[in-house]
Amino acid sequence: MSELWMMIGKRLLYGLLTLFIVSVIIFGASEMLPGDQAQALLGQSATPETLAALREQLGLNDPAPVRYWNWLAGAMSGDFGISTSNQRPIADLISGRLYNTMFLALYAATLAVPLSLVLGLLAALWRNSIFDRVANASALTSISFPEFFVAYILIVWLAQGGHFTSLARIRENTTFVQRLDMTFLPALTLTLVVTAHMMRMTRAAIINLMASPYIEMARLKGLSPLRVVLRHALPNALAPIITVVALNLAYLITGVVAVEVVFTYPGLGQLMVNSVADRDMPVVQAISLIFASAYVLLNLLADVLSTLSNPRLRHRR
């Protein structure tokens, strides 16, 4: 067990390193972005004098390394600063959005993960059957439609029919149940987007094992195909399945800006794109770090779970 802790510790350190590299990359990229925040804020109305005044006010005149250092020092002490656009503390600005993003990600995952596991298992169980082929072809079709397009189709089908709302208007007093109802369509869209990948991986991971001697052994013990798949193949296929689930969870957290836009859902993705457009670098940095942390932590979690699912690694000789 101590080896597991060692691994977690090492991976966390690597994670910090990753976050650091990410922050440098993002900062560097934002430095290279044409124009700065003053121009972005004033837009077409900018004049040289107002630009200069606004730059001064926003502290954009410091050299880049100084600004990076200031930001880093602040971030290390847990202070991500204030949004330079509208002087709101970034923690406030982001916390609500982060909750929304996590809510939607978990909602979609709750729909998608069981669905894709069941479909993947059934496809593996009945491989090369009509079911398998239809599931495979529809999964491929669903991933080859752009997300926003899937969203439009769902809106036409489900929202114009009056079944669900196409506008996720989250308010402070929105109850949990209302929230579930309001975000059903975005969650469904994301479910369609990620299910295919996870389903195909589950199927492949299980089929990959079906030629193993221990599966043949299980069949020769007179076990039913379902039991063979569930009890003998699945536990050994967990590692790749967990990995792909983690990858998709990370995607659900970090990659859903199009869906947020279509359903006007106030998540982090939109905020990020907005902040890039506004050159609001403290916000961009903070969100990048949140995204990177989600990625790092989910990967770590996947590795820990894979380790735990593997008795060879769980119990040494």
């Binding site: 079906m210 030629a211 193993s212 001697p213 221990y214 043949e216 052994m217 299980a218 069949r219 020769l220 013990k221 007179g222 076990l223 039913s224 039991r227 009890r231 003998h232 536990p235 050994n236 699912s309 593997n310 008795p311 060879r312 119990h315 000789r317």
Partner: protein, 540 residues
């Protein structure tokens, strides 16, 4: 008990699919088994032994089908019965013990869970009862700590113990018939004996009928009441064991009996500076040393056999020699000059002089390269051959290993048989024109007749090119056949070394003695006698 046989297979035809075509694997074999009887099924790889054994359960592997014949098990027509009926029989009345227990136990579950699964699913007994029964059977299989061993995961248990646990698992429902599919092939000789005796005892105790599949005559001689010989899906002959051993009728059977004929001429004793010398090598992975102060010499034109069981460090010695593993102490000398310990520091010439032939040609030949490139590459690199000269050289090498150049030069490894692949491995080593070749278990994955051919070839080449061999093996028979000198290793140390005649004749080091005595002999009473002898020694 009735007089009707327990299992009666008549005119079994089995086909396997390659692409769109069906190729026959079993071509009309009959098999009859009485209750409590053990039938040995013997043949080379590809003879269809396992396929036939599985067919006795009404089972075929994916891509195979039973295209004709009838399997009657205790009055039930297996092939005509429903999937459910067959499933009910499997595990409960007909059980299977696979070749590699390590691969056939599910790594995700504890032994006891896998044991109890069959009786619980088939409704033979409840879980608690099954657990108690498991302990009882583990004890009978002479497993250490029978109360606890079931609560371990497969990877926590050694290969020999796993094989016994698997036999116990097969016994869980007290089946009428067990199919043993090469249960000891993957084990070391000393371990093999324990497993063989345990299997033999328990089959006898429960009066279970068995089909015992193996390629090893000496093993089957200990286990079976009758022996059936298969060759490429056809039955060659069948007879009671002693009868078959005493007087095989068919030519093929006779060749099987006579394979161990190769004998290397005695070479003059070694003199002068050794070609290769390991001096005081200590090496290992991480902090644990695998080799402890190992020294031996290899002289020109001589074959040194390094013998030991798995984990003895014989392959590690080869890795130190080639420079893949840098020793923590000691040095490797070539013609008296020390070699840089890391192969990356060695000159191209030094690399050329020592070549290696691997145990598994499947993993040592790049599956995507044709023989022309596989064999030609060392000649191209070391000797600078190009174009027609290179082609000429490759053809010559193919001739040396007795493969027709025009037919084989543009083949992929996957288009060759096991023995041919191993020959290609040899040709690749020869292409560098080395003085010294390491042969790492080169025959252990091959059938005996094929192995014999390889040994003959190596012997011939040695004489032709003045080669020195380091021959790593666990098989005493091979040692007898090919070695000039023998180095016996155990847990990283050399326990005995010297000329073959000295090492293989008494007095022995105790470990050498154990190794030698554990090699099965063709005598059907050998196992009984050996166990008795050992029991006497233990008592006495």
């Amino acid at each position: 008990m009735t007089d009707a046989p327990l299992l009666e297979m008549t005119d079994i035809h089995i086909e396997g699919r390659t692409g769109d075509d069906w190729v026959p694997i079993i071509k009309g074999v009959d098999l009859t088994l009485q209750r409590g009887e053990v039938l040995g099924l013997i043949g080379e790889s590809g003879a269809g032994k396992s396929t036939l054994g599985l067919a006795a359960m009404g089972f075929t592997r994916d891509g195979c089908r039973i295209s004709g014949g009838k399997v009657m098990f205790d009055g039930i027509d297996l092939l005509a019965s429903s999937v459910g009926t067959r499933r009910d029989l499997r595990g409960s009345r007909i059980a299977y013990v696979a070749q590699s227990a390590a691969a056939s136990f599910n790594p995700a579950h504890r032994l006891i869970d896998q044991y109890t699964e069959t009786p619980v699913v088939h409704g033979v007994m409840p879980r608690a009862e099954a657990e108690a029964d498991a302990v009882e059977l583990y004890r009978r299989m002479q497993l250490p700590n029978p109360e606890e061993i079931g609560f371990r995961y497969p990877h926590q248990v050694s290969g020999g113990q796993l094989q016994r646990a698997m036999t116990a698992m097969a016994m869980a429902c007290r089946p009428d018939l067990i199919i043993f599919d090469e249960p000891t092939t993957a084990l070391d000789v000393t371990t093999q004996i324990e497993v063989l005796s345990a299997i033999r005892d328990i089959v006898a105790q429960f009066d279970t009928a068995a089909i015992y599949i193996t390629h090893d005559l000496a093993v089957v001689a200990q286990m079976a009441d009758r022996i059936k010989v298969l060759l490429r899906g056809d039955e060659v002959e069948e007879a009671p064991t002693r009868e078959m051993l005493a007087a095989p009728k068919e030519d093929y059977t006779k060749t099987l009996w006579a394979v161990r004929s190769h004998q290397r001429a005695v070479q003059p004793a070694a003199r002068g500076v050794p070609l290769v010398e390991l001096r005081g090598i200590t090496a290992g992975y991480g902090r644990v040393p695998v080799l402890k102060d190992v020294s031996f010499e290899i002289h020109k034109r001589r074959t040194v056999a390094v013998v030991g069981e798995s984990g003895s460090g014989k392959s590690t010695a080869a890795r130190v020699l080639t420079g893949l593993l840098v020793p923590s102490a000691g040095e490797v000398l070539f013609e008296g000059e020390p070699l840089p310990p890391d192969f990356r520091k060695r000159s191209r010439e030094q690399l050329r002089q020592a070549q290696m032939i691997y145990q598994s040609a499947d993993t040592s030949l790049n599956p995507k390269l044709r023989l022309r490139a596989l064999i030609g590459r060392p000649a191209q690199m070391y000797l600078g051959l190009q174009g027609a000269a290179l082609d000429e050289r490759v053809r010559h090498l193919l001739n040396l290993i007795e493969l027709e150049p025009d037919e084989y030069i543009d083949r992929l490894p996957s288009e060759l048989s096991g023995g041919q692949k191993q020959r290609v491995g040899i040709a690749r080593a020869l292409a560098a024109e080395p003085k010294f070749i390491i042969c790492d278990e080169v025959t252990s994955a091959l059938d005996q007749i094929v192995a014999e051919g390889i040994l003959n070839l190596l012997d011939r080449l040695q004489a032709e090119f003045d080669l020195a061999y380091m021959f790593i093996t666990h098989d005493i028979a091979t040692v007898r056949a090919i070695a000039d000198d023998v180095v016996v290793m155990q847990s990283g140390k050399v326990v005995e070394q010297g000329e073959k005649a000295d090492v293989l004749s008494p007095p022995h080091d105790p470990y050498t003695e154990l190794l030698l005595s554990s090699v099965p002999e063709m005598d059907p009473d050998w196992l009984t006698r050996l166990l008795k002898e050992r029991a006497d020694i233990a008592d006495g």
